[in-house]
């Protein structure tokens, strides 16, 4: 992901036989003055929570009550024996396995379609991009209404072609797929923008040369364009996987984990334990923090694994 911005090559000169006075009037002081406000904020609200989360995961702790008691690995042991935690893990994996490939393949197709100079192209792009700026709650409201079991437009339109009616979010077997459809609607524009920018970085001479040599469009896409989209695809796979694993807003608002816990994903379960039951007085914050930390480690390992894999298959230019 982020590189170092080229900072490696210009590391700080070793402190010369420096005197305090020179240090204070020097670049060191102005540098620190410039970064300090931002650094303090990020340390307090970004860095400390990472360490505190780890500490909490070894404690029996409440959200509001001051109670803090060391329990060792008890919280972690408890995860393995908790059927609801297992259900949340399974739901999260199912969602991720559906969302990531569908959204990426769809956006590749859409970006390819949008990457041409034809009439109405600005309108088409706008239609795909608008959901990017639509909030998760606004999206949730739109799809709750669209997918309403009794009065929704979706059941009416599908009825016209002879299928349905569907329960969508209210049907235990359809709720997860409905969530996937809704989130793909919301994310497609984001992925498409990235693919579109990457497609425009593919030099037309390459595909033209392939065409002259008699390559079909299909093979010139898979042999030239697709490898050159490698960095963009890697980014989208990593990004979509991370965001899929931490799905929350849509589940909280649209299905609230139901029906029958079939959409209860990990972050939602953590929220439920810590906040809905925690504010009710139960001391589950430590246990919830342990689940969150496991998720954190999974995300970290997956990301590293994806980059490791990518180094072997992704082709970087310049």
């Amino acid at each position: 992901m982020p590189d170092d911005g080229g900072l490696n090559g210009s590391s700080v000169a070793a402190p010369a036989p420096g005197r305090l006075r020179r240090l204070l009037t020097s670049e060191h002081l102005s540098g620190w003055t410039f970064v300090l406000p931002a650094v303090i904020l990020i340390v307090v609200f970004g860095l400390i929570p990472i360490a505190w989360g780890l500490i909490l995961s070894f404690q029996k702790a409440g959200l509001i009550s001051p109670e803090r008691e060391w329990v060792g690995f008890e919280n972690y042991a408890r995860i393995a024996a908790d059927p609801k935690a297992r259900q949340a893990a399974v739901n999260t994996i199912v969602y991720t396995l559906l969302f990531v490939p569908i959204s990426i393949l769809a956006s590749l197709l859409v970006a390819h379609a949008l990457n041409r100079r034809i009439a109405l192209i600005r309108f088409y792009r706008l239609a795909v991009f608008i959901p990017v700026v639509t909030s998760t709650i606004a999206t949730g409201i739109m799809f709750l209404w669209l997918f309403d079991k009794n009065f929704g437009l979706a059941n009416w339109a599908l009825g016209k072609i002879g299928i349905g009616p569907f329960g969508f979010f209210e049907d235990p077997d359809q709720a997860m797929v409905s969530l996937v459809i809704m989130t793909v609607w919301g994310w497609l524009g984001f992925d498409t923008i990235i693919y579109l920018a990457a497609l425009q970085g593919v030099p037309p001479e390459l595909t033209e040369a392939a065409a002259i040599d008699g390559a079909s469009r299909w093979s010139s896409f898979w042999r030239i364009t697709w490898p050159m989209l490698g960095p963009a695809t890697l980014l989208l796979v990593v990004w979509s996987t991370i965001s899929a694993l931490q799905l929350f807003d849509e589940v909280f608002f649209v299905t609230h984990g139901g029906p029958l816990g079939r959409t209860s994903v990990v972050v939602f379960y953590v929220y439920r334990l810590a906040f809905e039951q925690g504010l009710g007085g139960l001391s589950l914050a430590g246990y919830a923090a342990a689940i969150a930390y496991v998720l954190f480690l999974v995300i970290l390992l997956l990301t590293l694994a994806q980059f490791w894999l990518a180094r072997r298959v992704v082709h970087y230019t310049s």
Binding site: D4, S10, I42, L47, I50, I118, I137, A198, T207, Y271
Partner: protein, 308 residues
């Protein structure tokens, strides 16, 4: 909107029609040939037009619903075009809910957070890009590492910090933790490093201070990058749900639009004409900003993607 020469996403030059003499008739080739145009328009319209319609339907259906009567919304098959356009639904939402308060709160939070990010991230990024100070590389990497950790997985400790600082239940909880962002620092540092350093060096020889170099030379050259940061930060803050959900617990006077909307929908389950009107009103500022600054949005997402 955009001129092809400068926009990030331009129409592909490859789509121009060229005739390749070596492509045999009937052979599938890269090059567009007039012979294959059996339709009076580009065949991709057959894919793109339905796609655009499907993608706009949820939004258009909200617009239609927001103009219906309560009984029209509860009919099946659905009423696709209401008998009379009830713009009064919008007034009803404003009158019967705290919509004005939610809108005002969200505006205050978003404007404060965006302005503060512009200032604090610019200062920090400039130092990371240009000033050699002790610990620079180390601090920069530590900040970058936090970029990898989403709020969702550190929600509980972050909440406890906000609680200990006495931020819960008022707008401070939504403002203070977001005054500076690692993303902003990272993006601006990358951008500042691409600026030519000669002007700044000349100004330093003339005795200008770091701050005046930043304000008079760097910032004017960085307006596109700052605009990009502003719109992306605006988007995140305006649409944020999880953090307001956990920090604004009981004080309805500090509700944001997203919190208010979620509550409103819960309380008016069957009054879809009102929910739709409220929802659309909450989206207007974001959509207007998007239409006005589409280029900055697209650049923000594309550069975030390509440089990340």
């Amino acid at each position: 909107m955009t001129t092809p020469a400068t926009s990030v996403i331009t129409e592909s030059p490859a789509a121009e029609t060229r005739v390749d003499p070596r492509t045999l008739p009937g052979e599938v080739g890269m090059v567009e040939r007039p012979r294959r145009r059996f339709l009076p328009f580009d065949p991709w319209h057959l894919f793109l037009a339905p796609l655009a319609v499907v993608w706009l339907v949820p939004l258009l259906w909200m617009v239609v619903t927001s103009l219906e009567t309560p009984s029209e919304t509860l009919r099946f098959p659905p009423v696709l075009w209401p008998e009379s356009l009830r713009f009064g639904n919008y007034l009803d939402v404003v009158r019967d809910s705290a919509f004005g308060t939610w809108f005002w709160n969200t505006t205050v939070v978003t404007v404060t957070v965006v302005s503060s990010n512009l200032v604090l991230c610019t200062l920090a990024a400039y130092a990371f890009a240009r000033i050699r100070f002790l610990g620079r590389t180390f601090v920069y990497f530590v900040l970058l590492a936090t970029l990898m950790v989403p709020l969702q997985v550190v929600l509980i400790p972050t909440f406890l910090i906000a609680k200990d600082l006495g931020l819960l239940d008022h707008l401070g909880a939504l403002i203070v933790p977001n005054l500076a962002s690692v993303f902003g620092i990272f993006m601006l540092t990358q951008f500042f490093r691409t600026l030519p350093i000669e002007l700044e060096e000349a100004a330093r020889i003339d005795g200008a201070s770091r701050l005046s170099i930043l304000l008079r030379i760097v910032v004017p050259l960085s307006l596109p990058a700052l605009a990009t940061l502003a719109v992306i930060q605006f988007l995140w803050t305006w649409n944020d749900f999880l953090w307001p959900l956990v920090t604004i617990l009981t004080n309805q006077g500090a509700f944001t639009l997203q919190l208010g909307l979620a509550t409103f929908q819960g309380a008016h389950q069957t009054q879809w004409h009102l929910v739709a009107a409220a929802n659309l009103m909450s989206m207007v500022p974001m959509i207007v900003l998007f239409l006005a600054a589409q280029r900055a949005f697209v650049r923000g997402i594309a550069t975030q993607g390509l440089k990340g």
